[in-house]
Amino acid sequence: MNLFSSFEISGSGLSAQRLRMDTVANNIANVNTTRTAEGGPYRRLRVVFEPRQSEPLFLLPLEPKERAMAQLSQGVRVTGVSPDPAGAKMVYDPGHPDADAKGYVAMPNINIVNEMVDMISASRAYEANVTAINDAKSMALKALEIGKA
């Protein structure tokens, strides 16, 4: 269960990084959003990843080595998209329709520089997974050439 499952593993990495990229894009798009359906400013969202484990069935009778092989995770899984708990940025702007009595507006807790860094990191990780898929493909094609002998 190797070469083909590595396609799936890299594929899970691709979708995870794409979701991260989408979330970053959403955060950047909403950098000035001051009202949401839940009330208050937009809160920065971030994705949480966890290793996708293979089913832990029948692990006990296995030898330690085999167990290590079986417990090896099978790619990455997005646990959820959770809002950043950091407080809103208060900006003094008395003319803003959402300003409070003292003239402060609650702005989203988004730091655009952080988002850009996150975006580059997601993009690099995406590229790495693409390379892994391409390598798996070239390996599979090379293995097929054994039949051309």
Binding site: L3, F4, S5, A143, L144, I146, G147
Partner: protein, 111 residues
């Protein structure tokens, strides 16, 4: 680097291949030796060769089946099994052709 032992191993494999060929030729010589009363040696030899070919074919089929059902995930395993079966088949086939050729040669002999 893991490649240098591979290169080393490959050069060894060349000599191993030569040895194999030698082994084959001695086997053929042994098989051709007609001992009176024990004419079955060559027959047995051929039967076992065919049996092994069939076994390899079956192994290859099993691998292909496993590949289709997702049990075998490596392309190279399937290809190697297939290739082994094909080589065995070709060898048996060319031995058979040679035998038929020899038989016909004998039949055409003017007495």
């Amino acid at each position: 680097m893991a490649i240098s032992p591979v290169a080393d191993a490959y050069s060894k494999s060349l000599t191993a291949g030569m040895l194999q060929l030698n082994e084959m030729s001695t086997m053929a010589q042994a098989a051709a030796k007609v001992v009176p009363g024990s004419a079955e040696t060559f027959q047995q030899f051929l039967a076992s060769a065919i049996g092994q070919t069939v076994e390899l074919q079956k192994a290859s089929e099993k691998k292909t089946e496993g590949f289709l059902s997702g049990k075998v995930d490596n392309v190279h395993e399937v290809m190697i099994a297939e290739e082994k079966a094909e080589i065995a088949f070709q060898l048996t086939m060319s031995v058979r052709n040679k035998i038929v050729e020899a038989y016909q040669e004998v039949m055409r002999m003017q007495i």
